[in-house]
Symmetry: C2
């Protein structure tokens, strides 16, 4: 397998982008990545999107993207693993470059969620859960993560204040991100006094419904050194793992086993320990999710995730900064785009281009992208070299 | 890149399978492929499915499949390119094995279409066309292919009788396939007197709505030689290409440019000429589609596709047998499964296991799988060795 690097990144603003269609968003992010890479063609492309079918009645999205990018007839593949679709697009592009089949491969993640009513949107998102055993019976994602939060509280004494501290930290970071959906700082009191969605999760514990896209262009490391005028970022490790979609099939609700395994695989491939990671972008679709994920990745010991945001450990200036982009919580969560937006942030940081929210001396970054309530997880380890 | 072989295949019956759910079909085909290969684990898997979201409100399908196969936590990726999703699953699995990342990789194609009304089904299928420029305005797939048929008639003098001969041939083949949805022989008169769906396409020019799944297990050629007790079938060539989704964006309605390019790429990789192909499974979603495809692949000269079925050229005992399985027309067309069902047929034929419908001395087979009205195409060349 060939070593693979990222030579270009692009991202749209995240938010309720009513003037921009699915294809507009996709094209904007991809062309920004191409401009950043200094290329006008790629050999192949992958589109990560959870459900353009249920959101805007459009399947066959990768061919559409290739055409509207003016890049047809290149091979174009849509990949889907619910909210992990973006990370999966990067993994797929990585494999195609590593295999030797293609040199320049585009990975783009996209979702257009605000064209439909809240009810339709909730139903579309519920398609990431097990239809026969969960969604059909009316369970939605806030409910599923609320069960995980309750289990974590029972096991480790996690409090609503600790959950809230995750949202407070991520909003403080998002306030510095010009592409973020929410740029307002919030307090623990704001979270605790916000509407309860699914006890113990308040609305400010939840990531929003968003539109947006993010993209990256990959090539062999040797080619990247020739083409790129910017610091070259290598994909040092890739991990992908699955678990049951339905919570009832898991032995322990406090565990996200696919996250643990995918992180183990990616760090193993990169030959790195969690303690070597300089910053991490992780899947905080709900505040409890960030807490569980940093435990599974090994950034904190198991059971000690809850206090990490409150204590400042995961703050921008802390020992291990988590979600300096603002995370899904503040930056926004266009589901299929999220995994690629994490990569956008890491590359920006590893290049030293993150301005006000720059993490000092960032050389190794980890991105963790979850599908559903943990039914899939994709982890990448990026290193500047 | 490593050489890649297929060591196991499995397929469900195709048809209106009201007693079997999406996951039942997926598991049945995959376990049959595992049994055929003599393995009980794989390292990774790909699921090709066009729209489990719109058909049964289930996304995140690959993780679900891995879990219900008892194969979690392996990496599991869903790929989608409308009706070419099955072929795309094989291509993706091929790349992962060729890259060296994984040794045993499962590719499965599936679709469950009959759980919804005809109206919902038609709308779901229309998501393979361009939503903003075609489907939104009420165009459906019979209408799109009818326009292609009219253009072909205008250009080459193609007749309704020639279209009908394709259906007659494929039903004659499907009558010998125990897994086919329709096993009745039909006549040209049957086709011409059947209901008109979109002039000039009668209902017997159209493939049906179906449920079903088909699967294959891939591994490096060197490993296949050790593991397999059956003739080893190598994936000698892979081609994937795209075109605009919308017909209005194409310069010539009689052309399926993605088919031509993907076939050129696959035959080029296999270092084969079209004339060396012993049998082909091609995407006959409508009778006109088979005619266009055999021209684009180069099995007949351009403009001479129309008479190939009528003249017997593409019959089972003809010079180049096409769709000896019965094709989409008679075998059935569960959209995401179709590409893998083509592979199932080719491997069965190349192993010499096709019984009554066996093509004599078949050593080189070509599978061509179209997405939408030609917005994508995936071609594989398989060789027994």
């Amino acid at each position: 397998m060939r070593d693979v690097a990222i030579i270009g990144i692009g991202m749209t603003r995240f938010g309720e982008l009513w003037e921009e269609s699915l294809r507009d968003l996709l094209v904007e992010a991809a062309l920004k990545a191409a401009a950043d890479a200094g290329v006008d063609r790629v050999d192949s492309m992958y589109v990560g999107c959870m459900s353009s079918g249920l959101f805007v009645e459009q399947e066959h999205l990768a061919s559409l993207a290739a055409d509207f990018l003016g890049m047809g007839p290149i091979p174009a593949t849509r990949v889907e693993s619910a909210c992990a679709s973006g990370g999966l697009a990067l993994r797929s592009a990585f494999i195609e470059v590593a295999s030797g089949l293609s040199d320049l491969v585009l990975a783009v993640g996209v979702e257009k969620m605000t064209d439909v009513s809240g009810e339709v949107c909730t139903a579309a998102l519920a398609a990431a859960a097990d239809q026969e055993y969960e969604s059909f019976h009316g369970v939605t994602f806030p409910g599923l993560y609320a069960m995980i939060a309750r289990a974590h509280m029972e096991r480790y004494g996690t409090t609503c204040e600790q959950l809230a501290a995750v949202a407070v930290k991520n909003h403080a970071n998002g306030a510095l991100n010009p592409l973020a959906q929410f740029r307002n700082r919030i307090t623990v009191e704001d979270v605790l006094s916000s509407i309860m969605v699914a006890d113990p999760l308040h609305v400010l514990d939840c990531s929003p419904v968003s539109d947006g896209a993010a993209a990256a262009i990959l090539c062999p490391l040797t080619l990247a050194r020739k083409l790129s005028k910017k610091p070259v970022v290598r994909i040092a490790g890739v991990g992908h793992a699955t678990d049951s979609l339905a919570l009832y099939r898991r032995p322990d609700l406090t565990r996200l086993r696919a996250v643990e395994r995918s992180a183990h695989l990616a760090l193993g491939m990169a030959k790195r320990e969690p303690s070597e990671v300089d910053l991490a972008e992780v899947h905080d679709c709900f505040t409890i999710a960030e807490i569980c994920v940093i435990e599974e990745v090994g950034l904190v010991p198991r059971g000690q995730g809850a206090d990490a945001a409150r204590s400042g450990l995961t703050a921008r200036g802390g020992k291990i900064p988590v979600n300096v982009s603002g995370g899904l919580k503040s930056k926004g969560h266009p589901v299929g785009a999220t995994g690629m937006a994490q990569i956008y942030e890491l590359v920006t940081q590893l290049r030293g281009d993150a301005g006000e929210r720059q993490v000092k001396d960032a050389r190794i970054g980890l991105a963790q992208n979850t599908g559903g309530s943990g039914g899939s997880s994709v982890v990448h380890v990026l290193e500047v070299c």
